[in-house]
Chain length 479, copies 2
């Protein structure tokens, strides 16, 4: 009986795994860091911190997080009542004002906004249609930072390639064409290069526009936007994301020799830079208030969906972690500083502005954590690979406080875009790591909506962030 049951289980598992492989390819970008060849682990020094004194505080934090609906209610307000929040938009302004007001009401310390001028890209109307051999509307979504087309659009034959190597082989043959990249998803980190560099690499050979298969393992005619960059030495051509379905349709047309022609229309353009702000609030340190543990997310989002997982959730996690500590009367020795950065998605002006404005105190940042991988079930933290081994050993020890909620991992690498400038200046950086298997299904799409957020998983993210931030901020000598 036992054997039969287990055998049935094996069959079942095999079926599930096989389906999962059909539906999605490698989905976890952080897994790349652990890939080939098998490293010989360097033994870490023993931890120099004692965590027993923090078990009671961790228990209170976890209990409070799991019995409060504040985080979810606030994320609901942000997503349902404010909505998506692209840099320069009225919605982002409203979100910033709301957060600063509420943070003061929460009794957080030193609540303020720090002005940042941000790029103001607007999408406008946009469309893609096939003109020949059949007339058909095609799903698309312009890429952020792209230039627009003339009002009548750009009409040209499409040429489809699977990768940059195929483009390079075609070379000048793409002159005057709309270049279509149909690169299957390998991982976000790998495949996003087509979104970032695709336009300029096509322009180099004279293409007049580019279309990029959305960076995702799955699709239900779901286009994914995201930032792109132009090589300043090459002509700027318009570029849009297309769905997996459209990319495969164009690939089939291409491979059959149908020579499809397309018309791309995009009103995309930059308006003058707009005023925005980083939102900052603190739990002031009781003994060493000038030393800082920074916890953060980015408050801007793309202009589609609700920016729920990316990164409304991450902001609420950092904010609510601080609020919970206040509510519980937990006063760490050092200051915990919440930063909700502006303009992560298409400029990183918030992260750079914070570094510039806080130059004098950068060395006082003990740790900077960013939550920007969605607010799924937390697994722990990703610690920047260059962190000193004593720091890694101690954070591993501290993370044991989170083993009861299985969020005690300290992954081999981590960090965040907004805290990147700080990390380059020597601050130890980390990411809140979460179960990421569905993040890139919805990332930068109209489907990044609150229904995808599990209230309990969000609460566990808050607890994970709060326990780590509090313990590091309060230990006499965290490393």
């Amino acid at each position: 009986m036992r054997f039969l049951k287990l055998f049935a289980l094996v069959i079942f598992t095999t079926t599930l795994v096989s389906q999962a492989q059909t539906q999605r390819q490698v989905a976890n970008p952080t897994a790349q860091a652990l890939a080939s060849p098998t490293p010989t682990p360097t033994p870490l020094p023993p931890p120099t911190v004692k965590i027993d004194g923090y078990r009671a505080a961790a228990a209170r934090i976890i209990g409070a997080a799991l019995t409060s609906d504040r985080a979810y209610a606030r994320l609901a307000h942000l997503t349902d009542h404010i909505g998506n929040r692209l840099s320069g938009s009225k919605n982002l302004e409203r979100a910033i004002e709301w957060a600063a007001t509420e943070m003061k009401r929460d009794g957080l310390d030193n609540v303020r906004t720090e002005k940042v001028m941000v790029p103001h890209w607007v999408r406008g109307e946009e469309s893609l249609e096939m003109l020949t051999p059949v007339s058909r509307k095609l799903q698309m979504l312009g890429l952020g930072n792209s230039v627009g087309t003339p009002a009548e659009g750009i009409s040209a034959e499409a040429v489809v390639v699977r990768d940059f190597a195929e483009l390079d082989r075609l070379g000048e043959k793409v002159r005057g064409k709309i270049l279509v990249y149909n690169a299957p998803y390998e991982s976000y980190g790998v495949t996003v290069s087509y979104r970032l560099q695709g336009a300029s690499r096509a322009a180099r050979y004279g293409a007049v526009a580019a279309l990029v298969r959305s960076i995702t393992p799955v699709s239900l005619q779901t286009p994914h936007t995201g930032a792109m960059n132009y090589d300043p030495n090459l002509p700027k051509i318009p570029v849009a994301a297309i769905t997996i379905e459209v990319a495969e349709f164009l690939q089939r047309m291409n491979d059959r020799g149908d020579r499809p022609t397309l018309r791309l229309k995009m009103e995309a353009k930059f308006l003058p830079d707009a005023e925005s702000a980083n939102v900052i609030a603190e739990v002031k340190g009781s003994e060493k208030p000038d030393e800082i543990v920074l916890i953060s997310g980015h408050f801007d989002s793309w202009d589609v969906g609700q920016g729920a997982h990316d990164d409304g959730g991450g902001c609420i996690v950092a904010w609510e972690a601080a609020r919970l500590l206040k509510e519980l009367g937990l006063k760490p020795r050092r200051t915990i500083r919440v930063v909700l950065y502006t303009n992560e998605e298409n400029g990183l002006r918030g992260g750079n502005a914070y570094r510039d404005a806080h130059q004098a105190e950068i060395s006082k940042h003990i740790l900077a954590i960013e939550s920007d991988s969605g607010v799924y079930r937390p697994e722990g933290f990703g610690l920047v690979a260059t962190a000193p081994s004593q720091v890694r050993s101690n954070l591993q020890e501290i993370a044991k406080l989170l083993s009861g909620i299985r969020a005690d991992g300290i992954a081999a690498n981590g960090g965040g875009a907004d805290i990147g400038p700080l990390m380059r200046d020597g601050v130890v950086g980390a990411s809140l790591d979460v179960e990421g298997s569905h993040y890139f299904d919805i990332h930068h799409t109209p489907a990044d909506t609150l229904d995808k957020v599990d209230p309990q998983e969000l609460a566990l993210c808050v607890a994970t962030m709060a326990v780590m931030a509090y313990t590091v901020a309060d230990l006499p000598n965290p490393y």
Copy 2:
């Protein structure tokens, strides 16, 4: 070690199952037929057919299907070069003309089209937006057969219910409101009642329009259309599908007391009935040409996506099964008749017209099989529950010819919408059954496109259909 491995497997399986449950609920509608309470199986009589003489033919058919790209190439032409095919559309006319021409070229017998007048519903422009408390465009797709709205749209407060019982409790409170059904997916068969009856059941209490959560286990802001019916005794109010995301957004608004107001605009209307046709082709029987094994699909589709799985694939399976037999020179004793029905989706005029036009030979139909559940990996056939036990026993025996491709199941129930009129007149009906776990992800959506069809699975469907049809048509006494 074995224990540890198995333990790891259990954990892994548990994780997968848990994820699968979060992502999708019961997805296989045919599973409902097997549900509670556990029946005591009635022993079947021993089969009266000998299948050994058909192993060679089955081998040739399976081999030929798995080495030909004809089915996929034809489905590609139908989906890529013709496109979706709603009744009354130019595309459906083109598809019918193309199929009849190609079937003649294939050398099939008695190729003809049989005229059918079909309803001609057109969608027109349509939109849904929230007016208050926030302004937002919402994803929608009008339901087939719905009436339209006045040109200025219908603006009203939304009231959200989870099921009909909640509607009945509200009763007259929904007068003047837009009623929103946010019924979570249980199974297609169960949950589709909201799409079919939702408008009239809301109109009974005075609602001015209705919105129905799409009938699907998953969504990436994916609206699913489909037919609806009006109760002739109640006012006809416009009705549209909304995505799971929009339904949950409206539910949250409703539950918080936000009293959202919406504006629904739909140009949907019926034009005069249009001329269409069933497409028919045969492999003429050598000894009993008047006895018929009918294999079929429906050639019309909804007006979104490509109608690839629903039901372009099913049509190609029936057609290619017959063509393969011709190519292999396999001449069955009875006639195998391919029927590509028109107007399954919003009228069933094709199925009814076939029954009416072939009244005199209905009793000569030995078996009618419809392929309309997608063209995923075939699992066998679903045989109508009322089939005589000797028929069931013999078809189970014949299906053993398909055990090598694991398509030898004969499920407890089956049939098809288009062959329904024949079945009601006593013809034994069956469905081609396939692995259906992803069918309702894309059913009636813009994402029902060719990239979702696996060429090998399509070929296996062709082989399964051809082996069963040939063997039943050729056995001296199939039952």
